[in-house]
Amino acid sequence: MAAHPDPYDLLKSIIHLSTSSIPIEAKLDGMLQILSDALESDRCLLLKPDKIGKNGFLSHLASEKKPLWVDEGSSFNKEGVLSEEKDLLCPSFACIPLYDETAFQGFLYIAFSKSRRFSTQETNLILLIAKEMEEAIRNAHLHRKAEQTISELIALQEMGKAVTSTLKLRELFELILVTGLKILKAKGGALRVEDRRTGELEVKCSLGEYHLNPLDEKIARRVFHTRTPLSLHHSSEEKPSLSILCAPFLSKGKSFGTLTFYDKEANLPKFDERDFQLLLTMANQMSCAIENALVHYETSEMAREHEKRVKQLSTLWELNKALLTTVNFERIVHMMLTAITIGDGLGFNRAMLFMVNEKKHILEGTLAVGPDSAEEAGRIWTTLSQRKENLSDLIAQIQLFPETNSILNSIVKGIQIPLEQEECILSRTVLEGRPFNIRFPYSEEGWLQIHCERGCSLGSEVGCYASEHLSRNPKVYSFATVPLWGKGKVIGVILVDNLYNQNPVTDGDIQFLTMFTNQAGLAIENTILYRNLEEVHRELKETQALLVHQEKMVALGELSTHIAHEIKNPLVSIGGFARRLDRAIPDESQEKRYTETIIKEVGRLEKILDDIHTYTHDESLAFKEWDLRDILEESVSMVSEGFHGGGIQIVKQFAEEPPKVRGDYHQLKEAFSNLISNAYQAMDGKGTLSIRIHPISKNGSSFIRVEVQDTGNGIDPENLHNIFNPFYSTKDARLGLGLPIVHKIILSHRGQIEVDNHPGKGVTFIITLPVQQPSPPPLAPVLRPDQIGTTEDGGGDSGEGERPKNSP
């Protein structure tokens, strides 16, 4: 056995080595070397736990936690020694298990080729060095752990700092993922957050392509719903192994997202427990930050939405204020369409108004506002953006320039669409009373062809005309229609589009437009009512003026009649005597001229007076359409009042709805009253009066025939010729002035009168009146004997169709 070195020096060098800052492996190697040198051993090793086979004597030793000493005189049972362990079996050797606080760290193995004994000093020394090695290993472990923890803490701190530095969701998600990836040394990751509306998990941020793996999505959902983190190592022979760590973001016991990392950046891509814990820490910390950011995001979204609403409402208020300033229909519709197209208003490119015409049952193009070309649109927008005026100023200008002469306007004004044309989007808007928002993908052949069987004029004119202006590719044209509501009914349709900037028409736009048009519809309805009111008012005023005029004319008539009468007689005397003078004066004398002047001037005055008289006294008969049944009923009741004879039976046979007769009511009534009165007198209180009315047709013309029949004694045939002669005298009381008047009236109505006389039985007067009489007849001629149909010597030959029928 070699000389023992000084144990003090040995321990000194061991401690020196142990406290040095060299790596643990070098330390351990150094210690083994010192020990080997000191004891002059043949082998001195540190057997690591992973080199120790299962169920061998070493593993047995490890579980016993006792050192093994094999030396001279001691026996070693070779049973249970594994084949790979056999070369460790030297004549003398020692195995000292090394433990730190918890785990087995291996054996300190020292062997000698010759059998020898371990002295107590040697044993103590070896155990001391083993202890020192345990200590060194533990320290090294602690040191590594501490370093790792520090670096993780630094990373977490960085992450914390980073996430509090931003409230922008996208940046935050990216930061979390990138930092997490760095801390966990993962190859990829994904961050998912729940969509509040749909409840679906959405990938908000990802690194690598792991999130595309369907397995990943499944895991994320499971973690999200169970609110339990998951660590999974998936390995199979066909696919490369996959290691996944996934943790939920939790807030108040609810999960709102997941954080997933994949595959460690190491030889063995498996995450360990530490990584898992680290992820949980991260997820917990980040939950709060993400939730804050989400709340902030939602709040700012809401604020933006509110701001938009407030802006819309104030726009609406401004527009409505403007609409209330006028009741003029043209102006109000122009203001409305301009408000729809103005950038600060509703901001559509073009707006067209179609009003419902209820009488014709059509939609009529009323007005269109919007640029005719993209160039014009650009010019207008540039001008407007430079003006920086507010809405009320702009609307004030709308009021100043109510005229528009664009091509579009003239096209729209010519459009008429039958309402029953249900295929047309405009008609449908009216019929269904709801807005339509429509997008047309571009097509070369008439891309705004609304599906109409008859071909909609909107499609053929506005659309094709508009297609020239679409510049964007692919060309998409979108437009929307909104019904214009009056009081409880659709009074029109507004069509809007964004032809020039090709912005899509959003549902929000339609909503805003509807809000505005609902107000505008009422305003328009009011203007229509006001316009009607104005019309009625004007008519009333006109009627009043007419009445005043007529009253004046009546007063003037009365005055002029009076004056005319007062003047006429003196004038006749003057003129008459002037003529007498004129005749007495020789033709060649000077005075002749005087009298001629008087005569001429009197003639002029007479003419003036006659004109005034004619003007103020309309002497023409009041010819109107009359139902003869009414006239006869009136005549019968008038006459029967005058006779008390209850013995007279009246039989009326009137045709239903006989054609009407043109005539003067009073004259006709006078005529029939006379006939009826005569009949009463002839029957002397007893008999039957028959009155018949029926239409007849003669020579292709329509007539109405009235018969008045009595059951009296008839007319003496001797008198029959003269019954219409006013001067014919007879004992018969009824043949007074009555019949000539009847005769005269019927003639003046272009009618005929016939007599069917049956002496002793009765007489029937038959009146025939023409039904169609386009113009009133001339004034009743002056009743003169030479004009009377039946005169004393004429024998009823000169009347206009009056033929007394003599009974045999």
Partner: protein, 118 residues
């Protein structure tokens, strides 16, 4: 010689008619209203009467009715300043209606016609 009675409330008209008609060879009697006309009717026994319509007291229409009660065949010419009574049925019992005029031609023609002188 035919006898004509002129009934008119206007003195100058009566004077004018008398002058003119006498010149034409008629015997003329004047009455200034209906009452006077009726009184003179039986004494004068005219062949024809011209009757003014608007007269104070008994007017022409009333006078016409009264005369017709006894004299159905006596030709009567209604005279008035204007034609407004042409539509009045009551004047239809007369034989003619003449609107007064400084030119007496129409009146004279009507008189001659009614007297059968034409």
């Amino acid at each position: 010689m035919k006898r004509i009675m002129i009934v008119d409330d206007e003195e100058n008209i009566r004077f004018l008619y008398k002058e003119e008609l006498e010149e034409d060879g008629f015997m003329v009697e004047l009455a200034k209203n209906g009452q006077e006309a009726l009184e003179k009717l039986s004494l004068f026994k005219p062949d024809l009467i011209t009757l003014d319509i608007k007269m104070p007291g008994m007017d022409g229409i009333e006078t016409l009715k009264r005369i017709r009660e006894t004299e159905r065949h006596l030709p009567i010419i209604m005279c008035s300043a204007y034609g407004e009574y042409k539509q009045d049925f009551t004047t239809w019992a007369s034989d003619a209606y003449v609107v007064k005029c400084a030119d007496l031609t129409e009146l004279k023609t009507t008189i001659r016609k009614l007297l059968g002188l034409l």
